[in-house]
Amino acid sequence: MIAQADRTTLAEQQRRGRFRKWSLPSRDVLLLLGPAVLYLIAFSVFPLLYSLRISFTDQGAAQDAAQWIGLENYARLLSDPFFWNAATNTAAMVGAAVTIQVVLGTALAVFFNLNLRGSWLVRGILILPMLLTPIVVGVMWRALFNPDWGIINWALEEVGLDAPNWLGSTEWAIRTLILVDVWQWTPFVFLIVFARLQALSVEVFEAAQVDGAGAIAMIRRITLPLLWPAIAFAAIFRAIDAFRSFDLVYGLSYGGPARSTTTLSFLAFQNGFQFQNYGYAAATAYVMVIILMVATTVLLRYVRLRGADAA
């Protein structure tokens, strides 16, 4: 009832605000906000608009003045098999990696919430991977997966297992990329979910216990619904991050073999900085921006509703 009243008041305020007469901000407001606004214009808005303009040109390496070609780059993208290949790889990576990270991260958070002896130490070690930069992680794992002298193949052979061609086969390379991403970013999901878990009120669980709820029921009916906003936040954050994944690909597989790990970011990098097709690269980046904007808007809306419902 109270929540309903609050929402009505908020809606009323928003309605009034919409029709309030617009007036010039005061000098103090301008003085306080001005530097930040100028900074944003210079370093965010202008580059975005500039690259948007480039995406409508055939800007390449050897031209001082690029030709305006309208939507040609975008049309070419839609019929470019390399783009669709990169989009598929990106979708596979985001879908698989984030799902595994969420499941594993949440499970780990619930497990560590049991406060077993020595768990503080393991927790500290657990979050180490996310402290490394992805390029270092990529290079490190490439060395570990080296088919000739990598320690992983050696260990597998020692226990009598055939090591897969981690980065040399199109079938395995994308799985390897997902595996390394999961290794690095599961701790992030764990950290977010664990923090939320620590903040949950103990009384709710005690009440459930008094009512006779079992462990599974408590997790299903109480813990997970209460954790949902944190899980959703971590998942969205990770999805956005995985969608833009470039440095890990660069360090681990360089998009290969046979473009099997080329993500949209890597494709844009190749077109822009290897092949100097700046216009085409900018169009690729803008398509990514559009996809991200739509996806995050939809997802955030969904999360907010679920969050409100849960509250």
Binding site: G60, A61, A62, Q63, D64, P147, D148, N165, L167, G168, S169, T170, Y254, G255, G256, P257, A258, R259, Q270, N271, F273, Q274, F275, Q276, N277
Partner: protein, 508 residues
């Protein structure tokens, strides 16, 4: 004081005698004379007097190129008469943008103090990796004023960067005895390198013709054949001269410990440019037909030679390292240096690590020869290497000083230092054939011959060179990992290239 003066005078006289008698080289003379406080004019006069006799001054090599419009390959001794002052631009600060992926920047760093002592010019080096280098270069070339007075560019990008008119014509400096050291010897540069990175006809878009815009350097390079002398000898085999012999040797020498051969099997720049292209052109293949001007510039990738060249690599898979399809540049160098490969064709620039006794187990067991070729074909491969030039939009006041530095870093002395210290492929014929260097590095004459015979890859005249190369590497890599056959791979590349060429308006 008088005694000091007397000693100094004697020392100067001694140095002058030594340089005139050919006992002291130009660089050492300049260094001593500068320390002794001899004026630039006197140094120039002495050097001019002994021009042509100074050790390290090579006569123009037979067959070496003279740029269009030059009366002779090198400034004549008489033309050089007296006007050259090494300290003329002392106090100037010059910036160079160069590659940090090779060892050139290290060599140049080693010698910065010498450069300053001899010319009074302070050189500031910026040396990013290749990707950022290209980006940085283009930003500077397209700006109103370049931040760098000297830019080092990859030979494959000559058309893109020199052909777009971004560089300063250099012939006026070469011909001016006041600006060019008398013993710099322009005719000493390998003709192949000069055509690949130096000459460009902008009006007609022709690489290797027209005006001089760049000087070969800081290093050149092509592809040679590395083989294990001990293994070949033990098996009673001769190093391969033909591709059939290469295949036979791979089969004969393959063991559990040592692969019979290796190649770039990963999706890597050199899969197409080194392994496939070398085989392709030495079995009679021709990469492109027609010309961009007539808009019929078409690839011949479905030709029997194109498919056969790829199939030849596929046929070597059973005798290559087990994971060769993940082998790029570093993996091959490491495996060869560790004694795990019996033979391979590779960039001659890997001689550094391969012949390094501290890091290589096969330094004294490795032989170097020309790449194999079919009977009747000249052994040859792709031409690599770099050029160095002055951006047209560089500060005009600093351009002469930039040229002074440019001649210093492309001099025989510096080229020799690079080859000696880092085994970097020189761009001067005289350094490839320097007896003292050959004593230490017997592979040098072979590398020089490979460099002289090397071929500029036909697609490097297109701005889409790297994109096209990538398409080829991806399709060929797919063939090597068994996802398609050689014929399909070549047909796919043909189709993709044709689309690129149509977009570039060179194929109707």
């Amino acid at each position: 004081m008088d005694l000091d003066k007397g000693r100094r005078r004697d020392a100067v006289a001694e140095a002058i005698d030594a340089v005139l008698n050919g006992e002291l080289n130009r660089r050492e003379f300049i260094r001593r004379a500068t320390v002794l406080g001899v004026s630039g004019g006197v140094i120039s006069a002495v050097l001019a007097a002994c021009s042509g006799q100074v050790p390290g001054t090579a006569a123009p090599t037979a067959g070496s190129a003279a740029p269009a419009g030059s009366a002779s390959a090198a400034p004549s001794a008489s033309a050089a008469g007296g006007a050259y002052d090494p300290m003329k631009y002392a106090g100037t600060k010059v910036g160079i943008l160069m590659t940090g992926d090779e060892n050139d920047h290290r060599a140049l760093n080693d010698k910065l103090a010498d450069l300053k002592a001899e010319t009074g010019i302070e050189l500031e080096i910026t040396s990013p990796a290749l990707g950022p280098l290209i980006e940085n270069t283009l930003q500077n070339l397209q700006a109103e004023r370049s931040s760098f007075e000297i830019i080092n560019y990859l030979g494959f990008l000559t058309t893109q960067q020199v052909g777009a008119g971004y560089f300063e014509p250099l012939q006026k400096y070469v011909d001016d005895p006041a600006e060019t050291p008398p013993d710099w010897d322009f005719g000493d540069f390998a003709e192949s390198n000069l055509k690949n990175v130096g000459l460009y006809d902008i009006a007609n878009k022709k690489l290797g013709e027209g005006k001089l815009y760049g000087i070969p350097g800081l290093h050149s390079g092509s592809v040679v054949y590395f083989y294990r002398e001990d293994l070949f000898e033990a098996a009673g085999l001769e190093p391969a001269k033909t591709w059939d012999e290469f295949q036979a040797a791979a089969e004969a020498l393959h063991t559990d410990d040592v692969a019979g051969c290796s190649f770039i099997g990963a999706n890597d720049f050199s899969l197409a440019t080194v392994d496939w292209y070398t085989r392709f052109i030495t079995i009679g293949g021709q990469l492109m037909s027609g010309s961009p001007e007539t808009k019929d510039y078409k690839p011949n990738l479905t030709s029997p030679e194109a498919v056969k060249a790829l199939q030849m690599i596929i046929d070597l898979l059973p005798f290559a390292p087990e994971n060769v399809t993940t082998y790029g540049f570093a993996e091959n160098v490491d495996a060869f240096s560790a004694g795990k490969i019996a033979q391979m064709i590779f960039w001659s620039t890997i001689a550094g690590p391969v012949f390094n006794t501290e890091t290589s187990t096969v330094a004294d067991k490795t032989g170097v020869g020309n790449v194999p070729a079919d009977p009747g074909e000249t052994p040859r491969a792709i031409l690599g290497g770099w050029g160095v030039g002055i951006p047209a939009n560089a500060d005009p006041a600093k351009k002469p000083a930039a040229w002074r530095v440019l001649t210093w870093i492309t001099s025989k002395e510096f080229n020799t230092y690079e080859a000696d210290k880092y085994q970097i492929d020189p761009s001067r014929n005289s350094v490839f054939n320097d007896p003292a260097l050959i004593d230490k590095f017997p592979y040098l004459p072979v590398a020089g011959e490979a460099n002289a015979n090397a071929q500029t890859i036909e697609t490097s005249i297109l701005n889409d060179f790297f994109a096209m190369n990538d398409m080829m590497n991806v399709e060929f890599n797919k063939a090597l990992i068994g996802e398609q056959d050689a014929e399909t791979a070549c047909a796919n590349v043909q189709e993709q290239w044709e689309e690129v060429l149509r977009r570039a308006d060179v194929l109707a």
